[in-house]
């Protein structure tokens, strides 16, 4: 098991390095700069000041030199200084990490709590009304633009019914989390429902289940023991993959609900050309994705002993 872990972590490193390099190059050729973004609403920036800012941020040095410095610094955990706040990027990110995690986990929870049972029930009664309705609902959930859904939720539940607050983080409590979590969670919910249904169906018709049935095992035991354990593999994989990419997908929802997470930080930083912050955020997203994937792989091995890596 340890060997597998080491191998997986080892696989992460070159990917991470390539991502860092790619992102660095991409954002060094982007037009517009931080300084020109400061003149918002027509307040002109003084050219001499802009030039000094350029020097201060090291943007006048050649590309290769900057990259080497950046890569070297990243290795020791120094992600640079944000152009906007003049503080370390790590600090900027640390302040926004928890809200993002919270939102992603809440969305995943919503997806799992509703999606998995839904898929399960649909699989146990294939072709029934429940099955049809849930699957149509699932496909619809996958076809909705996230922010349109978020907007509808906001106006219906916040403005019309006044049950929930419409924006922001609040004091970190549950009420502010609900609407964004639903908006973000509908898509993985739909996917999980479909995947669970398919996985369960697959297993229900597999040979060893028929064997168990013919042996006279009660339906309930059949379902709970064999089906769940085998369907679990696919479900866990899906949960993992979804979770890994969910943080990146949360960008739009965060922007809509003014949720102070990494996604909205990233978008703001891109528009304001705060390059170190952009690079830092993307790094975190990628790291998150890779770590979750590795954990999923390990869980895969743990759940299904038949799968071993040579």
């Amino acid at each position: 098991m340890l060997l597998v872990l080491v191998r997986r972590v080892g696989n992460m490193v070159p990917t991470l390095a390539a991502v860092i390099a790619l992102i660095f190059v991409l954002f060094s050729v982007i037009p517009g700069s931080f300084m020109s973004g400061l003149g918002d609403d027509g307040r002109t920036m003084d050219p001499a000041v802009m030039e000094r800012m350029r020097k201060e941020m090291g943007l006048d040095q050649p590309l290769l030199e900057r990259f080497v410095k950046y890569a070297g610094a990243t290795l020791v955990g120094d992600l640079g200084t944000s152009f906007r706040t003049r503080e370390p990027v790590t600090k900027l990110i640390a302040g926004r990490l928890w809200p993002s995690l919270k939102l992603t986990m809440a969305a995943m929870l919503v997806a799992m709590a509703i999606g998995i049972p839904l898929g399960f029930v649909a699989a146990l009664r294939p072709g029934s009304l429940v099955d049809t309705v849930s699957m149509v609902g699932a496909v619809s959930g996958l076809s909705l633009p996230k922010f349109w859904l978020g907007l509808l939720l906001m106006y219906f539940f916040a403005l019309q019914l006044k049950w929930l607050p419409s924006f922001g983080y609040g004091d970190g409590g549950l009420t502010h989390l609900i609407l964004p979590a639903i908006a973000l969670g509908v898509s993985p919910l739909a996917l999980l429902a479909r995947t669970t249904r398919a996985a369960v169906l697959d297993v229900l018709n597999a040979d060893f289940v028929r064997t168990a049935r013919s042996k006279g095992m009660s339906e309930r035991r059949v379902v709970t023991w064999h089906v769940m354990r085998n369907a679990l593999v696919l479900v866990v994989t899906t949960v993992g993959l979804q979770f890994g990419s969910l943080m990146g997908q949360a960008v739009v929802v965060e922007k809509l609900f003014s949720w102070p997470g990494l996604g909205s930080l990233l978008v703001d930083s891109v528009f304001q050309r705060d390059i170190p912050a952009v690079q830092g955020c993307i790094l975190v997203f990628v790291l998150f994705f890779l770590v979750i994937n590795t954990l999923v792989d390990l869980a895969y091995v743990a759940i299904d002993p038949r799968i071993r890596y040579g």
Partner: protein
């Protein structure tokens, strides 16, 4: 008998006066001490920095006005700058030397008293040659500041400490320092706190409220600074700034009474004005921004002809756009200077909507079938893409084919400074210093500074130079007015509008100032909430 009549008269007068005052009571309430004011920061998703020297953004100065202080404040009632950190100022005969007698009871939030050293240190820091502090463009007007900026001197020679509470400032050019040093980026900061290195997380200033916590992207919490130098102020116990960049989200929050102020966008402006309850709590101010389509005379030939530029002004029904698209949340522009400028000529009429005249002018200039041009724009809803989309059909009708080119706002500024555009639509600050504003059209002003139209008119230059020299303020105003009129005739831009800032406020909030430099910049020591505030 006479005595009785006299007493009766007095009694009647007192009663009458008392009755009158009772009717007036709603307006003359005494400010209540206590409570929490919940403001909003509407210009983006975050506050970039609490070290106000580093950021010129309007968003950050909302916090700047709460935590920090500048030498002057903007007096909205008198429409001019007013001394804030000084008791009095003596001006030399030639208007170049200002001697300030500073307040001796101004304390930083760490308990230390402000002295002349702080003024000098702050302004010197701003001229640091290794950093790009936006305030440099203002402090540069002090004699010797340029040397510090170039690295040739360590101190500003024009700033002299006379004693702990007296500082003498010698200017390099004759300007009104009030117009320079009320701007947030010239705030007076405490050296020892800044040098600790974590000033952005622990800002310490002279403002009426001191820092409690900042949740990035969400809110800033501050509480009353007991040692603030204005007696009895601030009234509120706490001021919270909620960061909400989306107008629609602010709308919902305001209606739910979760926030006390909200800058309104055009859509909400209409809705709130139509609502019998909400319309009572609306503050409107004519701000000092001019929105226009800038035509680059160094790009395509048609723009070099005055008649073409005038034709464009006649072809577009700006009135309709202001009414329908901007929902009347703007004032039709006549020339470059906004209506809030003292030099604004109220008799000046904006260009009339006259497509026939436009076609005639175009034909005269040699373009009877119109021409094409590329129109660069940002996505901005007030002076960007939506305006362009509304104008396209209007220009089309007189034969001018405009091709929109959408770019991001950061790229827009770069494009303007580099001159890589034919026409672009944008917003420009046009106040409070009208003379400085018009300098942008002086032929000697480089494009990178702000002469984006490549404007070059000898008569204009002459008039503006004379205005700069004029010692008599009335004469100066007259000359500025004349220069503005020349701009009207030459039409270097399509004059679109001056903006109207609108803020909705809850009925329990009092003390808001109609600040034309930026409505969202409120001096919080004047704000107070009565018992109806839902936050105890």
């Amino acid at each position: 008998m006479k005595k009785l009549m006299w007493l009766t008269a007095v009694a009647v007068a007192v009663v009458g006066f008392g009755a009158a005052e009772a009717q007036q009571t709603p307006q003359t309430q005494t400010p209540r001490k206590g409570g929490t004011v919940r403001m909003t920061a509407p210009y983006g998703g975050s506050l970039t920095s609490l070290d106000i020297h580093t950021s010129p953004r309007a968003q950050d100065d909302i916090a700047g006005k709460i935590l920090h202080r500048t030498l002057y404040n903007w007096d909205s009632a008198k429409a001019q700058p007013a001394l804030e950190l000084a008791k009095e100022v003596a001006v030399s005969g030639d208007g170049m030397v200002y001697t300030y007698k500073l307040l001796d009871n101004a304390y930083f939030h760490n308990g230390r008293r402000m002295t002349a050293d702080d003024i000098i240190w702050s302004y010197t820091r701003i001229m640091d040659p290794t950093k790009g502090f936006p305030g440099a463009r203002y402090v540069r007007f002090i004699k010797g500041a340029v040397d510090v900026e170039k690295g040739a001197a360590k101190e500003i020679s024009g700033l002299r400490k006379i004693d702990d509470f007296t500082v003498e400032m010698t200017l390099a050019e004759r300007v009104n320092p009030g117009l320079l040093f009320f701007v947030g980026v010239t705030a007076i900061l405490p050296k020892e706190e800044v040098e600790k290195g974590n000033f952005n997380s622990n800002p310490v200033g002279l403002g009426p409220f001191k820092f409690v916590e900042h949740v990035p992207g969400s809110r800033l919490v501050t509480e009353r600074w007991e040692k603030f130098y204005k007696p009895g102020k601030p009234y509120a116990d706490k001021v919270i700034v909620l960061i909400m960049g989306e107008a629609a989200a602010r709308d919902v929050a305001f209606r739910n009474k979760e926030i006390d102020t909200s800058i309104l966008g055009p859509v909400q402006y209409v809705a709130y004005m139509a609502d019998p309850v909400l319309s009572k709590g609306i503050l409107e101010v004519a701000e000092m921004f001019t929105r226009s389509m800038v035509m680059n005379q160094a790009s395509i030939k048609p723009f070099q002809d005055k008649r073409v530029r005038q034709a464009i002004n006649h072809a577009i029904d700006a009135e309709l756009i202001v009414k329908r698209l901007a929902k009347d949340k703007a004032y039709r522009a006549a020339s470059w200077l906004p209506s809030s400028s003292p030099a604004f000529d109220k008799a000046m009429k904006p260009y009339a909507f006259d497509p026939e005249k436009a076609k005639k002018l175009l034909a005269e200039a040699g373009y009877p079938n119109g021409f094409e041009f590329e129109w660069t724009t940002s996505p901005n809803e007030s002076w960007g893409l939506p305006i362009v989309e509304a104008v396209l059909p209007m220009l089309n009708r007189v034969g001018i084919k405009a091709k929109p080119k959408l770019i991001e706002t950061t790229v827009l500024t770069e494009t303007a400074m580099k001159g890589t555009f034919e026409a672009y639509i944008g917003s420009n600050v046009t106040g409070p210093d009208s003379l400085a504003t018009l300098k942008c059209f002086h032929s000697k002003t480089p494009r990178t500074a702000c002469n984006y139209t490549a404007f070059n008119n000898a008569e204009f230059d002459k008039t503006l130079d004379a205005a700069g020299q004029a010692a008599d303020p009335e004469k100066q105003l007259e000359l500025i007015r004349t220069a503005n009129a020349i701009l009207y005739d030459e039409a270097p831009v399509w004059f679109f509008n001056y903006n109207k800032a609108v803020m909705a406020y809850q009925p329990w909030l009092h003390g808001l100032q109609a600040n034309p430099t930026e409505l969202a910049h409120q001096y919080p020591e004047e704000l107070w909430v009565d018992e109806r505030s839902p936050v105890k």
